[in-house]
Subunit: 108 residues, 2 copies
DNA sequence: TATATTAATCGTAATATTGCAATAAACAAA
DNA sequence: TTTGTTTATTGCAATATTACGATTAATATA
């Protein structure tokens, strides 16, 4: 009831789902788009660009950080958010591995 | 609230997020694993294999069908669920396009 | 030190998701 | 037609997510 039964799935299934879940919100995709385009990596700029309240953006950044897609570096009073290249590569590998296991034939 | 503000994001951002969201649950990954391995495509076999109640599996199948990853074919009293190859290819392309846009350099 | 700037955290309301029991619907077989 | 088999739908309880105002924490600057 509202609670995912993680224990009945494999480690890998849970991991893939966890990554996909974090990517499963347009605000987080928009944040990644913004950071990847190197427009800026300062949190405040994200708030201005995306159009959600600062606490909301902060919350989404936290989610992205949790799975290791981005990392934050404190620079004075502001925080610089960047792609965590090493982790993001691993994440992409995990997803690609799943996406590439296609059935050679189908039954219907 | 609890309501995603889809209108402030691009079509593409919403689309990527919608796909990722559906993949963001281990039961749905397990279902895809099962179908892809061609163990069986009958709904009832999924229920037995995965260990969630029949209505729960049925609900997850509905989600997967909604974004076009799978399709269901009625075969007598049972339903055969298979990967919708054409749609799944498009979905993978969309995801890969996003995953491959990496920043050439990083700021931190 | 006082004040501004920036981002995180807390608390809360609204909505969404997950899971299942009960039931319905659709079809096959006796 | 009746009965069994299989899947979908309904209704509901428990939990999670999204969003934001208010506040806090941390640092920079006057």
């Amino acid at each position: 009831m509202g609670l995912t039964k993680s224990e009945i799935f494999t480690e890998e299934q849970n991991q893939i789902a966890a990554i996909a879940k974090v990517l499963g919100h347009p605000a987080r995709i928009a944040i990644l788009d913004f950071i990847i385009k190197l427009k800026s990596c300062v949190c405040g700029d994200l708030v201005k660009d995306i159009g959600l309240a600062q606490p909301t953006i902060s919350q989404h950044l936290k989610e992205l950080k949790k799975v290791g897609i981005i990392k934050g570096t404190i620079e004075g009073t502001s925080v610089c958010y960047c792609i965590d290249d090493e982790n993001f590569s691993k994440i992409k590998e995990t997803l690609n591995k799943f996406l590439s296991k296609n059935p050679t034939e189908n039954c219907c």
